[in-house]
Structures are given as structure tokens and as C-alpha cells.
Symmetry: C2
């Protein structure tokens, strides 16, 4: 009886941890946890529902892929009023590329919650993108399209979708910024400082200084990304322009 | 002055006709008519907005295609809980096939409202599907995802999406029904009768009789479709089953 109680409470604790982490990732409270559990279940577990139907993330991945495509399409449509059909199609492909989705899933550390009988190290990098898509599908089923849209804005569009970068016009704001400093003889410095944020993931915080004054600050899951983000903010704050903008 | 007034009132009358027809097709009132006007504008008109950006249906077609894909994906996900990712992908391709979308657009007679400098007869059949997708995109921009979903349910899923047919298990309910009648020695008769509906499009009405009594009725935009629909209804009403169901 004691051991049963122990198993039960350890399961509850684990579930509580899952729900808490999920809340942080989603930015809202999930209603039906079972849908999210499926989104994090790999086929290797061979789980089935009462009707004998497989319960793993693959169907949700199909659904999430569709919803993600629609949200990104709508965003690009509104954001680039001068872009024709071919341009929009190309830009969307870049945003929802396998490589990009894997990066997203990896940054959110989704694989941590994966229920699988295969050690996660043995998976290809695609596991991160697949689970990310499944998560989008789960949000759609649990809370509907509008929540999905908000989640995608927060987790995909805001941190990653930079039209200029996607167009290949700007490869790195950091290098653009450095170029500008050298041309204008301004001393600059990227300064990493202690990040007090209480995120699931380790974050890096960076101050970008021109001489002694801080121009911008940024935080991200890697030092490189935080610097790039700080440089991008400075780029827009100081109203610097690329040559292609001037043309 | 008089001629200007004449042009103006004839335009208003034409616009009134467009809005009324649109309301019937949509099943709700459009808010921003200008979006729908773009959905029915062909690139041959060379129309541009104040910023010099082309105003034709092509961008809306891109958007509508995405939204349609997401709505159909969600429908199939919910409707076929036992279908795996590959099955769902295949079924969705069938529903949103060019051929199928052209049929949808043609049935709604969308090309009638097309603003173009090329005679509509010179277009390929794809014009119908393209404008249908653009219309879905316009609905999304004008009223949001939920209205889109309702429209797609009414105009695509309810009249056209029959899982058994898509799976190729049932090619024609009419032939299944006839087969059953012959096997069971039942005299049957498809009877076309006068359709009093005040639709934009000509409709055909069909009664399906077994002996002297009417089993089902149906209406559609062709006699063939009305018969098929009446047979399908009879098939379910009389609780007939295909061999694959019995297995």
C-alpha cells in the first residue's frame, strides 16, 4: 500500500512539473492536459486509446503543420503588402523549414518531456521540429485557432521571423552594426551580464554599449543570439539603414 | 453631369448586385467589400492600390489555400480518429485537389463576378478553383478564422467531403443503391421535379421512389449530382451497408 502511494505521488509530482513547464512555454493554462500528453508521446511507446487507436504525436504533427502554415501565411500577407504570391510562398517555406522548426523545438527544450522507449540521443534533429508542430496541433484542439495564433506569434514570429533576414538582405545585424561603428569611428562593446530571469532555460543577457552608454539590451538562449538581437535593436533604434534600403 | 450620374448609379446598382450575390454565397454579410472585390479581380486588369501595389486575387489565393488546408486538416483529424498521418495527408490532398476546387468554384459560378480584361472563356478551368481560394482568403481577412471555418463547412465539407468516397470505397451511391434494388427485387425510380428554390444558380430537384413511395429528395446544381445525393441519403436512411462495412 505504501509503495502504491509512493508511485502515485511521484506520478502526480511529475505531472505537476509537466503542467507547470507547459504553462511557461504556452503562456496560458492548458485545459485538457491529455491532448498535450499525446503531443509528447513517441510511437515507440506503442500507446493506444480505448478504441485501440495509436496515441502518439504523429497525427497532431500533421494538424499542427497545417495550422502553423496558415498562421505564417496570414502574417506574411499582412506584413508584406507588396509581396506577390511567389514571394509569400518562398518566405513561408523559409519560416516553416525543417531546420527552422528544429531550432524552435530545441530552444524550447521540448524533447525533455518526450515519452519514448528509445533514448532521445538516438533521435535525429527532426524530433524537435516534429514535437513543436504536434504542440501547435494540441493547442489548436485544446484552445482553438486564436490561441494558436498568439502562441505562434510569441514563439515563432516575434523571436525568429525577420523579413529582411529571410530575404537574405541582412545576414547579421551584428556585422552590420560593427561595420557602421568602424566606418563612423565609434567604440562599441558587447557586455554579457548576469541574467536574473527565472526561465526554464538558461538565458544570456547582453548590453550593447557605444562608448560608456548602453544603447540596447537583449536576452536569448545563447550569447550569439543575444548579441544579434541587441545589435538588431540598436540598428533600428539608431535608425541605421542598409544600402538596399537607401536604393 | 448627367452622364456622370448615370455611370455612378449603374456602378452602385452593379455593386449592390455583387453584395447580394456574395451574401448568398457566404451565408453572412461581408464587412469590408473591397477585400472581396480584390478576390474577384484578375491580374489582367493591372489594378494597383495607392502605393502602386498590384491588386488582384493572387495574394488572397495564397492565403486562402493555407486556411483551407488548415480547416480540412482539422476536420479530417476529428472525423477520422483512426487515420494515421499518411492517411490524413492523402485525404486532404484529395479534398483540396485542383480538380475538386475547380468543381467547387464552378458550382458557385464565381467566375461570373470576375473583373478581367480577358474573356472568361479563354481561361483554363483553374480560374474557378483560384477564385474560390481567394474568396476563402478574403473571408479570413474580413471576418477571421471562425467564419472561414463555417463557410468551408457549408460549401466544401458538407456537400462534398464524403470520407468513404474519398477513400475510394464508394464510387457512387447511385450504383450501390441500384445494385441493392436489383438484388432485392425492389422497383425504383429517380424523378426530376420542378425546383422552386430562388438560388443564384439553376438547381435540379430529384425524388427517389421505391415503388410508389418517396424515400428521399435532394437538390443540386446538376441532375446527376441530385440523383447521387438522393441515393446517398436513401443509402443511409434505409441502413444499407457496403461489403467493406460488414467486414
Amino acid at each position: 500500500m505504501a509503495s502504491l502511494k509512493k508511485i502515485f505521488s511521484s506520478r502526480t509530482a511529475k505531472n505537476g512539473e509537466f503542467v507547470n513547464s507547459l504553462k511557461k512555454i504556452l503562456g496560458f493554462s492548458p485545459k485538457d492536459i491529455s491532448i498535450y500528453e499525446t503531443a509528447f508521446t513517441h510511437r515507440s511507446t506503442n500507446e493506444k486509446n480505448n478504441e485501440g487507436q495509436p496515441q502518439n504525436y504523429e497525427r497532431l504533427e500533421f494538424l499542427g503543420d497545417s495550422i502553423l502554415g496558415a498562421v505564417i501565411a496570414a502574417h506574411l500577407y499582412k506584413k508584406v503588402p507588396g509581396g506577390n504570391e511567389g514571394y509569400l510562398t518562398k518566405m513561408r517555406s523559409k519560416v516553416v523549414s525543417r531546420e527552422h522548426l528544429n531550432e524552435l523545438g530545441r530552444d524550447l527544450n521540448l524533447a525533455k518531456f518526450l515519452k519514448t522507449t528509445i533514448p532521445t540521443q538516438q533521435f535525429s534533429g527532426n524530433i524537435h521540429g516534429n514535437v513543436f508542430e504536434a504542440l501547435v496541433g494540441a493547442i489548436y484542439l485544446d484552445r482553438g485557432f486564436n490561441y494558436c495564433e498568439k502562441f505562434i506569434h510569441k514563439r515563432v514570429i516575434k523571436p525568429y521571423v525577420d523579413i529582411k533576414k529571410l530575404e537574405g538582405k541582412v545576414i547579421s545585424y551584428k556585422s552590420l552594426f560593427i561595420e557602421w561603428c568602424q566606418k563612423n569611428k565609434k567604440p562599441f562593446h558587447f557586455e554579457v551580464y548576469e541574467d536574473t530571469g527565472k526561465d526554464e532555460l538558461k538565458h544570456f543577457a547582453v548590453r550593447l554599449k557605444l562608448g560608456d552608454s548602453t544603447v540596447t539590451k537583449a536576452r536569448a538562449t545563447s550569447k550569439k543570439k543575444a548579441e544579434e538581437r541587441a545589435a538588431k535593436r540598436a540598428f533600428y533604434k539608431l535608425n541605421l539603414r542598409t544600402d538596399s534600403d537607401k536604393a
